[in-house]
């Protein structure tokens, strides 16, 4: 690791001091940003790094959130113990979503199928009221950590920050390793990757499971943050948010997912009085990004200073 890269650690360190300066509402938005950092990082693994058109991210997010909420409400497990199971539930959903890909379904076929999977999950939340509270939603008890109840947004912030840093660093290491290079090889040319003896099927499964895990943990954090889950939260407006994060941030860039999440999550909070404005604005923003900045914010940052360039992308 080049010495300059350790500068990135300043980001979470500086964030530690953040709660001193802001009010609880802004703290809530910042916690939401932390949730969406995980969502963006997880989504980008499959779409950006593996290069597959998989739209099932909202399903992973919803499954993670509902898994955490159901474990706490039905089984009485404290929240912190549900984080890993929620991630595993997401990973399981990721494995399920990768089955068509393993059968050779690619491109638009995969996109349509995963879109149908996401809608099917939303239907499931509504139709299983004994578990999910149906369309009325499910109220989650306050998150608990070793018997210590997370009441204020500031308490949640510190817990979330630790989780996000651990996962982002871990994903970064994975993407820089042999596994990450295999993902990129598959993205560039799947046949060539297979010809180089890369077991493409195994890496598909791994990428989807990893993506599902990361997003599922994000879902568990989301459940603890908002305290009430309803099926509408996991509809297609949610999907455009996820897309906007990775498109604006930069496809296939870990740095991009983080900055995309910061930029995109904060904006809809400004427009919540005008339903529809979010969709309109994100639609236009994505169109503009595709036309004029196809590599996203990450490419701008990389031009600014090479430290922002993802190490696994440095050769292209």
């Amino acid at each position: 690791m080049k010495p300059t890269r350790s500068l990135f650690w300043l980001l979470p360190l500086a964030a530690l001091a953040l709660p001193l300066f802001i009010n609880p509402y802004h703290q809530y938005v910042i916690n939401l940003i932390l949730v969406y950092v995980l969502v963006g990082v997880g989504f980008n693994i499959v779409v950006g790094n593996l290069g597959q058109l998989a739209f099932s991210n909202v399903a992973f997010f919803g499954i993670g959130a509902y898994a955490s909420a159901i474990f706490t409400t039905q089984l009485g497990i404290p929240w912190w113990l549900t984080i890993i199971p929620a991630g595993l539930a997401g990973a399981l959903a990721g494995c399920a979503a990768s089955i068509p890909a393993l059968r050779g379904v690619r491109l638009f076929y995969l996109a349509i199928m995963t879109l149908a999977f996401g809608e099917l999950m939303r239907w499931t939340y509504i139709r299983t009221p004994f578990l999910t509270g149906g369309s009325m939603g499910l109220t989650v008890p306050p998150a608990e950590l070793f018997g210590w109840v997370l009441e204020t947004e500031t308490q949640k912030f510190y817990v979330f920050l630790v989780i996000v840093v651990v996962i982002v660093v871990a994903v970064g290491r994975i993407l820089e390793s042999r596994i990450g290079r295999a993902f990129l090889a598959i993205k560039n040319d799947e046949r060539a990757a297979a010809a180089m003896a890369i077991p493409t099927g195994r890496y598909f499964l791994l990428a989807f499971a990893l993506s599902g895990f990361v997003v599922g943990v994000g879902g568990a954090m989301y459940a603890a943050l908002v305290g009430h889950l309803s099926p509408e939260a996991f509809d297609l407006v949610q999907l455009i948010l996820h897309f906007a994060i990775i498109m604006v941030g930069g496809l296939g860039s870990l740095v991009g997912s983080i900055f995309g999440a910061i930029l995109i999550t904060a904006t809809p909070e400004l427009f919540r009085d005008w339903p529809g404005f979010e969709e309109l604005m994100f639609g236009i923003v994505i169109v503009l990004v595709i036309l004029f900045l196809p590599r996203g914010l990450a490419s701008l940052l990389a031009r600014l200073h090479p430290v922002f360039k993802d190490r696994y992308l440095r050769d292209d």
Partner: protein
């Protein structure tokens, strides 16, 4: 219970006609430019909203409003391809898909901004009537669906096989590069095909507006039914999309009646998932999967 079957077939085929029309319009775009228009459902609903705007806010009679709406969607499809799809047509599939999705969302956002808070109902051109024959009921709406779609299918058959425009389009379905080599203005004809595809979809949307309360989210409802028709028929097959749409329409009614009403909503999702898992090329499609 079995005595219901003729009735279910009749109403299933009627609604299936709409799915067939929407699936067909998406297939035309896909065949021409190999772009799957993920925003198509929103454009379909935009057709119905345009009729609403022209009849209520401009107070035109229904038929001129319908024609204006189709013209508007033709123009929109033309510009959409020219301004947003063509510049990135050589780019990765992901960008193309994202572009179509983003435009669909922008259209939906615009509609929600204007009509999100109210239940919008498109004005009807005629009063609903019922016709009884052989123990089955058919509404005037359903007869309209069947007549309009069958006329459109016959018309598009003639346009595609007999006119100069249709032959050029067929050449472009086969290979765009080859078409460009023999002097066809590929960009212009792609624009036109997108215009025609969007107008056809909008016609389907207007007919859906007869039976649905207009809702910004109905676009996704439509999109997934169009996808189900395309997937079942086989991606890229024109008559496959029509037959697929009819089968989905009937299947929705049959499953909804004999299994559970909850199945009406998810028949199309299940069809998409099962077909892509079991037989990805659908009924009439070409090879669809990557084998390594």
């Amino acid at each position: 219970m079995l005595s219901l079957l003729p009735q279910l077939l009749v109403s299933g085929i009627a609604i299936g006609m709409l799915y067939a029309l929407i699936g067909l319009s998406m297939t035309i775009l896909y065949r021409a430019t190999t772009v799957v228009n993920f925003g198509h459902g929103d454009l379909v609903m935009a057709g119905a909203y345009m009729v609403l705007i022209f009849t209520i806010h401009v107070s035109l009679p229904f038929i001129p409003a319908l024609l204006l709406s189709l013209a508007a969607l033709f123009g929109f499809g033309y510009l959409l391809h020219r301004a947003f799809i063509w510049p990135i047509i050589a780019g990765p599939h992901l960008s193309l898909a994202m572009m179509a999705i983003a435009i669909g969302y922008a259209v939906r956002g615009l509609v929600r901004l204007e009509y999100g808070s109210e239940m919008a109902k498109m004005p009807r051109p005629f009063e609903e009537q019922f016709f009884f024959a052989y123990n089955t009921v058919m509404t005037l709406d359903e007869i309209t669906f069947c007549v309009v779609v069958v006329v459109m299918l016959i018309a598009s058959y003639f346009v595609f096989s007999k006119t100069r425009f249709g032959r050029i389009v067929q050449a472009m379905f086969q290979t765009q590069r080859g078409a460009a080599l023999v002097g066809i203005n590929v960009r212009l004809y792609n624009n036109l095909i997108w215009g025609v595809g969007c107008a056809l979809g909008a016609l389907g949307g207007v007919m859906l507006g007869l039976i649905l309360v207009l809702d910004p989210d109905a676009g996704v409802w439509t999109l997934l039914r169009g996808f189900a028709a395309m997937t079942l028929g086989g991606f890229g097959s024109l008559y496959g999309a029509v037959i697929g749409g009819l089968i989905i329409g009937v299947l929705e009614k049959v499953l909804g009646t004999y299994v559970s009403t909850a199945f009406i909503d998810i028949t199309c999702y299940l069809v998409i998932i099962v077909v892509l898992l079991v037989r990805p090329r659908g009924l009439f499609g070409q090879h669809a999967t990557l084998r390594i």
